[in-house]
């Protein structure tokens, strides 16, 4: 038994290393092309989807306001570096800490709510944030956006092209993924999953559900804020539409498609939903119809998402073939 677990641990490690390798090599075929630009956004979205999945897929707490934390991160970095010419790295840390603190504070009243009420409250937070991005024109530039955000740099090395930014963003994403993998397979992760399955039973087993929910909410806000800062420095121009309710729904779709309660599922979802609009470019704006259909049909027919659905399909097909042979 113990041995079995060690083997499992080892295979987890191998899985992660293989994943790192894939990330490392992915941009090579199109080093200069358009795709590595898209792959940067896959990285940003992976962080966002991962943050949501920890909250929704593991702890079972929905948030329709993730775009708010993303936006706070982006605008925080954007405003501090352009209006106050702060060092971007310092700004990033400062913003991440403040957003996490903000999430921690609102987490207590918000996560007392359950189900639909939680969904509506987080949605409310998201919309208020978006209104603030639009209305604080002096700071954010309002609907017309904020431009001139500097690229990140270390020493004399500036992240000024797609390939460099790709590795920058994915460096952060990989760390977030590693931390999340550690987390979900630990005491804390078990506590979160227990809350998801039965909050009452979890509490009777001594799990402090209230604190744990707030903690994971804070962590997911932190990841989202970092993703926001990175996004701002990569694209150098941000506007409120990138942090609207539609984005929160898009993130939800990523998580549902990839697989609720699966770290790699979040990445898969982010990958598919970032590439999809590119593929659907011919039919402009077609994407929200596809998202809608995906959300409904996945929830009804494949609630485990693709990461569980695809292996399931394989298992069903392979024995069938053997049976024939």
């Amino acid at each position: 038994m113990a041995k079995k677990k060690k083997v499992a641990l080892k295979s987890d490690k191998i899985k992660f290393l293989v994943f790192c390798l894939v990330v490392l090599l992915a941009p090579l075929p199109f080093a200069k092309g358009y795709l590595s630009n898209v792959l940067i956004f896959v990285g940003v979205n992976s962080m966002l989807a991962l943050g949501l999945n920890l909250l929704l897929g593991y702890a079972g707490q929905i948030s329709l306001g993730q775009a708010a934390f993303f936006g706070l991160g982006a605008y925080g970095s954007g405003v501090l570096t352009t209006q106050f010419t702060m060092n971007p790295w310092l700004a990033m840390v400062l913003v991440a800490v403040s957003v996490a603190l903000f999430a921690f504070l609102i987490g207590f009243p918000v996560l007392k709510l359950k189900g639909h009420y939680l969904a509506m409250a987080t949605l409310g937070v998201g919309i208020i944030a978006n209104i603030a991005f639009n209305e604080t024109v002096d700071l954010t530039g309002g609907p017309s956006g904020l431009s001139g955000i500097p690229n990140l740099s270390i020493g004399g090395f500036t992240f000024d092209n797609d390939l460099k930014n790709y590795y920058l963003v994915w460096g952060f994403a990989l760390v977030a993924i590693l931390l999340s993998l550690n987390l979900v397979n630990s005491r804390v992760g078990r506590g979160l999953r227990a809350i998801h399955d039965s909050e009452v039973a979890a509490r009777v087993m001594g799990v402090n559900a209230r604190i744990m929910k707030v903690q994971v909410f804070t962590f997911s806000a932190l990841i989202s804020a970092l993703a926001g800062s990175l996004y701002a420095h990569v694209v150098t121009f941000i506007s409120p539409t990138s942090f609207s309710f539609a984005v929160s729904v898009e993130l939800l779709t990523m998580v549902v498609i990839g697989g609720l309660g699966s770290v790699y599922g979040s990445i898969l979802g982010a990958l598919l939903l970032t590439l999809l609009p590119e593929l659907l470019r011919a039919f402009q704006d077609f994407d929200i119809i596809v998202y809608g259909l995906l959300l409904i049909s996945m929830t009804i027919y494949l609630p485990g998402g693709l990461v569980r659905g695809i292996p399931e399909l394989f298992r069903r097909l392979v024995p069938a073939r053997r049976g024939n042979a």
Binding site: K5, R187, V188, R190, D197, V200, M205, G206, A209
Partner: protein, 252 residues
């Protein structure tokens, strides 16, 4: 050990409990019986802090714990199982018990996400502990099965293992024998005695009279939210009121 003082509970207009006062003596097995809807489960819900009582107090040892939330009560040794088993269905059997060891481990968010060395050794320790508890209830071979896929009887055992993992001072069991066949029930009786012999005080709600009469030192009878009688199994069996209200009814 556990003392309930004048417990009352109302749901809107419905009085589910009123004036319930009794003690569970340390090291004993107390049975709580009563017809369906008598308020037994509600009493457990109040005792463990899932519902706040409308009136009265819950005492553990000398301490008034009425204001503590369930997780705090669990930490000081008051643990329960559920009538409709409440397992963490999407987790493995072993992980379920490991959640039961939550209070005996302390690695937090940071230590877990950074996978600190002491977190790894704590993890190993609670894994082994969890396996021991699975052994204790007799299902070590099911460790890697998803809890939601367990047959009912095994699920009950897992609930007991998970609760025992907290090393409670007092264990409340809500109808542990419901849905078990006679062989499983006999094994359960042995298991409960084994739990008592570990020094854990037990209180159980049960409809299976043979089981209750066999293992309990003290019995409390509830009817329509009030206490009808309290005494040894022998006294209860001979109490005419109880026979009229409860035993008589079940003979219909």
């Amino acid at each position: 050990m556990l003392r309930l003082e004048g417990i009352g509970k109302r749901f809107g207009g419905l009085t589910a409990l009123s004036g319930i006062t009794f003690s569970v003596i340390e090291g004993s097995i107390t049975g709580i019986i009563g017809p369906n809807g008598a308020g037994k489960t509600t009493l457990f819900n109040v005792a463990t802090g899932i519902y706040p009582p409308s009136e009265g107090a819950v005492l553990l040892g000398e301490k008034n714990i009425s204001a503590l939330p369930p997780e705090r009560r669990a930490r000081i040794g008051l643990v329960r199982t559920f009538q409709n088993i409440e397992l963490f269905g999407k987790m493995t059997v072993l992980e379920n018990v490991m959640v039961g060891l939550h209070t005996q481990s302390k690695c937090g968010f940071l230590a877990c996400s950074l996978r600190m060395p002491w977190q790894m050794s704590e993890e190993r320790r609670i894994r082994e502990k969890a396996l021991e508890w699975l052994d204790f209830v007799g299902i070590p071979d099911l460790a890697d099965v998803e809890a939601g896929a367990l047959p009912f009887g095994k699920g009950r055992l897992l609930e007991i293992a998970r609760a025992m993992a907290l090393e409670p001072k007092i264990l409340l069991m809500d109808e542990p024998a419901a849905g078990l066949n006679s062989r499983e029930t006999a094994e359960l009786a042995e298991l409960i005695k084994k739990i008592r012999d570990l020094g854990v005080t037990v209180a159980l709600v049960e409809h299976d009279m043979d089981l209750v009469m066999d293992i309990c030192d003290q019995i409390v009878v509830l009817n329509l939210g009030t206490m009808l009688a309290q005494g040894t199994p022998r006294e209860i069996q001979e109490n005419p009121e109880v026979i009229a209200a409860y035993l008589g009814e079940s003979e219909d």
